[in-house]
Symmetry: C2
Subunit: 316 residues, 2 copies
């Protein structure tokens, strides 16, 4: 028997990918979201929060669960260079859930929807032993802003929009019951999509993706879709002092947090050398022709292993 | 503490409904799917299958699970008078699931997609203790075919497109390990959306809905959205001899199957007396001004109770 976890995310994507037939499918399986040719280009994405996997009710307020459910989808729409528009909510919840908890989830979703001027337009509800929130979010994009995973070119610089490792550091604090660093816990509990940054970047970059699974994993996605490789400059990865301190206290490596941790929801993009001055961000690597992902530090290069390439590798 | 199950589906919908602000939202929360004004009218729906609730892996082949996941969404699109187009799949699966099982689910989804000439254009995967398949399906509709729950008018006849009770009868056979009646089991394992029937009906009817939760529940939905009531002629509800025999063997009521059972995926529509000759189907009731749902049999009328009005009342 071959198990799901033995195949890995990319193997699974290969298994479920088919070349689009309809010419109106501009982007199908394999990017942050799908794009359909309508009057305006329509962008569709779906992402799912599972209790015990993406959140624990001992750590998250129901409002924060709802907020996170929308933010992670806005993050996908942002990574396409698109503007979020309409939300469908597919909610599976335990029969005995407190109605206040249910209300809290929706309150959180609405709060974020109002922030982005988006609206929940439908969905469905059913029951399940664990809470499962599956969100579908549509967006609109102008052709000049469309930012795919597949556009990276050898020689492109790799840019990230913010400090990394917060998502994993916050998670590890909860798991190990580590006190202090409230702002790190807060960033884990209330991640924010980088819609404004994405909108500014979109006209100038060759490819873009949001960081839900760690910098290394996302660069692997870009390279996979763009048929190229990358070198990551380990020492240039932006990591805050707080995250370094937390990793140290837990006897862990802050670069593991940034490279393989995930849930930072910053953006990674690749940009030609000509356009590099037109945007802000942290330069963390370069796109290469050889199809490997290498990590460079102090003049030494190592191949990055498979950790972080797989949605199923979560340590939660 | 007020529990989810104490509120009921309609209470929950009230809690999460807000009047759309954006004028391009033609239909928001409260119908089978949402409608957005693009070049062609875009229809969006989402529906979810949860292991142990909507299917059991002891009963269903993985292909049948995949087929059902798509059919139930096509059924929602059909009930809008729309043509299905694009699918997003949000899949939560156990880490130790056999990859053959995963492949089987997708094979089933593709089989149905090909039948309807629709395409899977995206989605996401995560893990969960139970299998949860959340599908988002888009569709296109011409304004003249748009068939809402809210269009029923007092005096309308209520029509259903096929025999009812198969869904619940098949489920009860599996639950009670009842032998025989293979075709009934088959209808439960492989429900079919009524897209062709819906397309023929759409130009002539005032309201339409698909039967996922039982005839009484769906009529309640129509009445709720149309601010009216209904009388159902119990003796005219089409129930096959097989379903009657199965109910008898299990000491149950075949009308309970039809009224409150669900998963038949036939359509219910309401039509003016002027248009009744333009369509085929079984006349099972009439829309009334008084806002009650009554069941009429042998000259006696009874109010229908709350059974079947609630997604959370499944007996699985």
């Amino acid at each position: 028997m071959t198990k799901i976890k033995d195949i890995g995310e990319f193997g699974l994507i290969d298994r479920i990918s088919k070349k689009p037939i309809d010419k109106n499918i501009i982007v199908g399986i394999g990017d942050d979201a799908a794009v359909i040719n309508t009057k305006k280009m329509l962008v569709l994405t779906t992402d799912c929060l599972v209790e015990g996997d993406h959140f624990r009710i001992e750590w998250f307020k129901p409002e924060q669960i709802g907020m996170k459910a929308i933010e992670i989808n806005v993050s996908d729409i942002a990574a396409m260079g698109a503007i979020p528009k309409y939300v469908l909510v597919s909610l599976a919840i335990p029969k005995n859930l407190d109605i206040k908890f249910f209300d809290g989830i929706y309150k959180g979703m609405w709060t974020v929807c109002e922030k982005y001027k988006i609206e929940i337009i439908g969905g469905n509800m059913t029951h399940c032993e664990n809470i499962v929130i599956s969100i579908t979010l549509t967006g609109e994009v102008e052709k000049k802003n469309l930012s795919l995973r597949s556009g990276a070119k050898p020689g492109d610089y790799i840019i990230t929009t913010g400090h990394l490792g917060y998502g994993r550091a916050g998670l590890r604090m909860f798991q190990e019951n580590l006190k202090g660093y409230k702002s790190v816990k807060q960033k884990y509990l209330e991640p924010k999509a980088q819609l404004k940054k994405a909108f500014k970047l979109a006209p100038f970059i060759n490819s873009m993706i949001d960081i839900s699974d760690g910098l290394a994993s996302e660069i692997k996605h870009i390279c996979n879709e763009s048929k190229c490789g990358a070198i990551i400059y380990k020492d240039k990865i932006p990591i805050s002092d707080e995250v370094r301190e937390i990793a140290k206290k837990l006897g862990e490596d802050e670069y593991d947090y940034a490279l393989f941790g995930g849930e930072d929801f910053e953006l990674v993009c690749t940009v030609s050398k000509e356009n590099i001055d037109k945007l802000n961000g942290f330069l963390v690597g370069e796109i290469t022709e050889t199809k490997e992902i290498r990590l460079s530090s102090n003049g030494k290069e190592t191949l990055i292993d498979k950790k972080g390439y797989n949605h199923f590798s979560t340590i939660l």
